[in-house]
């Protein structure tokens, strides 16, 4: 297909590699080196998108990351990507793209009818209109669905992204951000000073603004020389297609490298994008500047573009987007553009808002045949689906029309309102910005101690040679700050002769908005093109009393689109300042936050997704559980056997059978996930005495004891058994969930407060496995399998342990019961755990041994009224849980003072009770308990914590926390599940449902 706007010669495209792409079903011919936007322009595509709110037709506006209009959908299926800026999408053969925010398409869009309603859709329109008329929020919420759908951006994909993303950590001395002239010079200088340098450039090529200058010129020679110099430096690492999106504390920078975004499908095992976390000592911000648009009626029409974007398309892509061009400016930087456009074959009229322009600027243009209009601006763009003319007018000092307007016919309007230095990273680092009157821009307020240096256009520097020089100095200073070596000679290539200066900063006239004498415009004049915020919206906000820039931003949503106000910021501030009769710095500016440009969440997640989101912890006998068809459940990071179904059992059938089996025969549960902490040292007993509520100093070697810990505020923290293995050697267990927390807490006490105690705490959770063997046959089974220990009730009563061997493996057998049955805990070194477990089962066959999971373990402990996580919920006291008897009355312990605060000692606090639930359905934990005697429902009196079916009682039971619980045994209460909308009744009983005397565990 013919490319009507492609120039015959020139450009940095590869004309030998012709490619074809699709946009909305239309074929675009292009070359390698094009972007999607340059291909659109080359093929004469004018309307490529629709506006956010009014659905007005929009064309390509810029040539970079600031693009507000040309947002498209890329690719299809699972690789579909919304809101891609066509100006930075590298062209590749077969690229599929479609327009977005338009139906049926961008060229004809039904919602464009909004344009007719535009006078009514001002700032705050939707809220004012739809929130008022009907009381309550239901009406608004109904309308909101349609409003949100009509306004908006691209459509997100809902299927999983098939591509891979990865994360890299990097370290360097000097990070150079931006591969334009200043950045290249900085990287060379820092590298020559001996620093380890990383240079990042968001574009696919190095050169930055130099790529927009004429091919084969003086600047190209300089760029080539710099690239050659860098190639020879092995201490400089260069990453292209890499955007630094955020600057963080202590010189950490976040960047995303688009490794294989420029192809349809990345090669096998290659990531589409890579997230870099870079830790550096110094950084040079050579991030350049973004050209500022001008504001006039219909300045959003397809065919209105940034002046230097047009220059980019001409010089870099060999695309001339218009033949008859009106160029409007308030500064010097449009003059070089005009010259390049004429040389490319366009007819150019140049409007300068400034009345007097230096001769050295306009003389060369006159010779080229450019028509000059000093003191003029554009009042309105003509044409509806594309620019057909420019209504121009003489301006007064406020940018208001002075005298009659006239119309110039044209097919392209190029505008330059000066430049906005890209200072996002500076601002993100919390560094100050200062308004520079000369360049009318916010610039970094430099300080010598800053680890972030700035260079080039980000500093509003003048011409190319000045950018090179600033880069060189910044690179040298950064390297010097790292190496400490001064006076290193550097050799950075320069331009042989200065090329024409496009210094916008030296003589800019602060006029950006052009209006009629009365301040009105001939149509919508957009300040924020991407979010459809017009001059009239800012004016409305002002009339309604919005004074603060932060309020204005949120009310009008200016600067809140995906471009984050890259183009609109200063123009909006300038209008506010004008309305309030203040200077721009008095109005202030909003704060920049990461990311600088949108980044894919996939890149940040990297490979930390699905099963790799966090480590999975497996017990040493995990494989046995899997082989024996256990259904596993996640308990924190652990995987634990939940239940072991037999012959198609449901979970309810399985856990009831398992629990009943334990009470009748013998069962084994894998308790290896318990937290295990070795507490060692001469002051270990004193330490335990302080952290546990009960006494520890008299615990003999060979004994173990259940203990409860409180937080310092008196609330129950954790519980578990601790055994005294030797004189100065204790073995503590914690609950599975709190293992890490308790270890950190003990370390905190020992290292920050009780530094005089000679105690070490060491996690041995992974070193030992633990199996609970429970049931009437437990002793017989262990007798059969153990050697070297007397397990009789007399030799080994509850709360004692013995050392023994099973199949030659040393084990420790604690006599203790969680299930309420005759029970033991077998501790064994992890490496031998599987062998010991298998031996238990081999010997247990004749005792009808069965494994049981966490569900039946829960049922057994609820039957016994033992508390666990649902009861120790960070709000309950010893008294609440019926554990007050454990607390020592004589010794102090952590929490012993604050547990007696008035509210924690109140008799009416909810306390632990049992509930026998009527009927044949179980209760739901979290259901609320209500008093049946009350006339009205009133407030709840407690809630269910742990519920189960009890095979021993043959009914549904629950533990609960109930106000005045102990005085209400025998009372009938209502249980209400407000989520499931069910009401049940239950009888309040003692939480010790089964064998309250403990005859079975002491047998």
């Amino acid at each position: 297909m013919k490319q009507p706007n492609r120039l015959e010669h020139g450009g940095r495209i590869d004309r030998d590699r012709a490619i074809e792409m699709q946009f909305d079903g239309q074929t675009l011919s292009a070359f390698e080196g094009d972007t999607l936007a340059s291909a659109m322009l080359a093929n004469g595509l004018k309307i490529v998108a629709r506006g956010f709110k009014y659905h007005r037709p929009r064309g390509v506006f810029s040539a970079g990351v600031e693009e507000p209009n040309a947002l498209v959908h890329l690719r299809s299926g699972a690789r579909h990507e919304p809101n891609a800026r066509a100006t930075v999408v590298e062209a590749y053969d077969g690229l599929q793209s479609t327009g977005q925010n338009a139906w049926p398409g961008v060229r004809f869009d039904i919602s464009a009818v909004n344009q007719l309603l535009a006078p009514f859709i001002g700032a705050g329109f939707y809220y004012k209109t739809f929130m008022g008329p009907v009381k309550g929020t239901a009406f608004w919420m109904f309308c909101e669905k349609f409003i949100r759908r009509a306004a908006g951006m691209g459509r997100a994909q809902t299927v999983a992204d098939p591509d891979e993303y990865e994360k890299v950590n990097a370290f360097c001395d000097v990070l150079v951000i931006g591969g334009g002239p200043a950045g290249l010079a900085a990287a060379i200088a820092a590298g020559q000073c001996g620093a380890r340098v990383i240079l990042l450039e968001q574009d696919a090529c190095l050169g930055g603004s130099m790529l927009s200058l004429p091919v084969g010129g003086e600047s190209d020679a300089c760029l080539k020389a710099m690239e050659a110099t860098l190639k020879g430096m092995d201490n400089v690492r260069i990453l292209k297609r890499t955007t630094v999106f955020g600057a963080y504390d202590q010189d950490v920078y976040g960047a995303v490298e688009r490794v294989w975004d420029h192809v349809e499908v990345p090669p096998a095992h290659q990531p589409r994008q890579r997230y870099w976390q870079i830790r550096t000592k110094q950084a040079v911000m050579a991030t350049g500047a973004i050209e500022r648009p001008l504001v006039f009626a219909n300045n959003d029409r397809p065919g209105v573009m940034l002046a230097n974007a047009v220059r980019s398309y001409v010089n870099r892509y060999a695309v001339l987007p218009g033949k008859k061009i009106v160029l409007a400016t308030n500064n010097d930087s449009a003059y070089a553009v005009a010259a390049d456009l004429v040389r490319a074959g366009a007819e150019v009229s140049l409007l300068d808002a400034r009345v007097s322009v230096p001769a050295e600027l306009f003389k060369p243009l006159e010779a080229l045949g450019v028509q000059l209009y000093p003191g003029y601006g554009i009042l309105a763009a003509k044409g509806s689906r594309g620019v057909s003319g420019a209504k121009i007018v003489l301006l007064d000092e406020n940018g208001c029309a002075r005298g009659p307007s006239k119309t110039i016919r044209c097919d392209l309007i190029a505008v330059s309102g000066g430049w906005t230095p890209v200072v996002h990273l500076w601002s993100q680092r919390g560094q100050k910005l200062q308004f520079d009157e000369q360049s009318a821009s916010f610039l970094p307020l430099k300080s010598a101690s800053s680890t972030l240096k700035t260079a080039g256009s980000a500093n509003a520097c003048g011409d190319l040679n000045q950018a090179l020089l600033q880069g060189e100095v910044a690179g040298q200073e950064a390297a010097k700050a790292v190496t400490g070596v001064v006076g290193v000679q550097v050799n950075v290539p320069r331009l042989k002769e200065a090329i024409y200066a496009d210094d916008w900063a030296r003589d800019l006239l602060m006029i950006w908005s052009v209006t009629r004498e009365d301040g009105s415009t001939d149509g919508k004049a957009f300040v924020d093109v991407q979010h459809d915020v017009a001059l009239s919206d800012i004016d409305l906000a002002h009339r309604e009393g919005f004074v603060s820039v932060e309020h204005l931003k949120r009310y009008t949503t200016t600067g809140m689109a995906t471009d984050q106000g890259k183009l609109s910021n200063i123009n909006a501030l300038a209008r506010m300042a004008q309305l309030q009769a203040l200077s721009i710095p008095k109005v202030g500016t909003t704060t920049f936050r990461p990311p600088y440009t949108p980044i894919a969440i996939g890149a940040i997640a990297g490979r930390e997704q699905g099963i790799h989101f966090r480590p999975t912890r497996l017990t040493p006998v995990h494989d046995w559980h899997v082989d024996n068809a256990a259904v596993m459940i996640e308990a924190g990071a652990w995987k634990r056997p939940w239940y072991y179904p037999e012959g198609g059992e449901t979970i309810n059938q399985a856990y009831v059978r398992e629990a009943a089996h334990v009470r009748k025969h013998v069962g084994v549960v894998d308790a290896s996930t318990l937290g295990k902490i070795a507490v060692q040292g001469p002051d270990a007993a004193e330490f335990l005495n302080r952290v546990y509520v009960n006494a520890w100093k008299k615990l003999k070697i060979g004994r173990l004891r259940y203990g409860v810990m409180l937080r310092d505020d008196g609330i129950v923290l954790d519980d578990g058994a601790t055994a005294r293995l030797g004189e100065n050697d204790y073995f503590m267990t914690t609950t599975t969930a709190n293992a890490a927390k308790i270890l950190g807490y003990l370390e905190h006490l020992l290292q920050t407060a009780w530094t005089d105690l000679k105690v070490h705490v060491t996690s041995v959770s992974d070193q030992y496995a633990a199996f609970a063997v429970a049931g009437p046959s437990a002793r017989d089974l262990l007798d059969a399998v153990c050697s070297g220990a007397d397990l009789s009730n007399e030799a080994l009563p509850n709360n004692q342990f013995v050392k023994a061997t099973i199949a030659g493996v040393p084990v420790r057998i604690n006599r203790m019961s969680y299930s309420g049955e005759l029970a033991y805990e077998v501790y064994v070194a992890s490496g031998y755990a599987h062998a010991v477990w298998k031996n238990l089962f081999k010997a247990g066959a004749s005792f009808d041994i069965k494994p049981y999971g966490t569900e039946s373990m829960g049922a057994l402990r609820i039957e016994k009224g033992h508390v666990a996580g649902p009861e120790i919920d960070g709000r309950t006291t010893l008294g609440d849980l019926g554990l007050a008897g454990f607390a020592s009355r004589v010794k102090p312990f952590s929490g012993s003072v604050l547990r007696h605060r008035e509210k924690l000692d109140m008799a009416s606090r909810p306390t632990l009770v049992g509930l026998e639930i009527d009927g044949d359905t179980g209760g739901m934990a979290g259901s609320l308990i209500y008093d049946q005697r009350a006339q009205q429902m009133g407030e709840e009196q407690g809630f269910l914590t742990s519920t189960t079916y009890s095979p021993a009682l043959k009914k549904y039971i629950s533990l609960a926390l109930l106000r005045d619980g102990h005085e209400r045994f025998g009372e009938s209460v209502d249980i209400v599940n407000h989520v499931g909308d069910t009401v049940q009744t239950a009888k309040v009983v003692s939480p010790h449902f089964f064998d309250p005397e403990g005859a079975r565990q002491n047998a």
Partner: protein
């Protein structure tokens, strides 16, 4: 992300550490039975803008509790010492 210069392990990312609260408060002796001293210790904190001494636990490293000087206004990091070394 801040980076913390652990006296044992060297300069490490914040993600290896957990925050452990204000290091300028002193835990009452275990046998102090005054309600007020424990109330102060557990609940009363200044909320300074600027220099702050705080506990950090190198939980993914040497497991030492550290006392770190951090500026709450700009995250500037000052000295970092072992908490166990305090007062000795």
């Amino acid at each position: 992300m801040i980076r913390i210069n652990c006296p044992v392990c060297g300069l490490r990312d914040e993600t290896e550490f957990t925050y452990g609260g204000d290091a300028s408060v002193t835990r009452p002796p275990i046998d102090d039975t005054q309600l007020s001293s424990w109330m102060d210790f557990v609940f009363m904190r200044d909320n300074p803008r600027g220099e702050h001494r705080e506990f950090w636990h190198h939980v993914q490293g040497c497991r030492q509790w550290l006392v770190l000087e951090r500026n709450t206004a700009n995250h500037a990091i000052g000295s970092c010492t072992l908490a166990a070394g305090r007062g000795t």
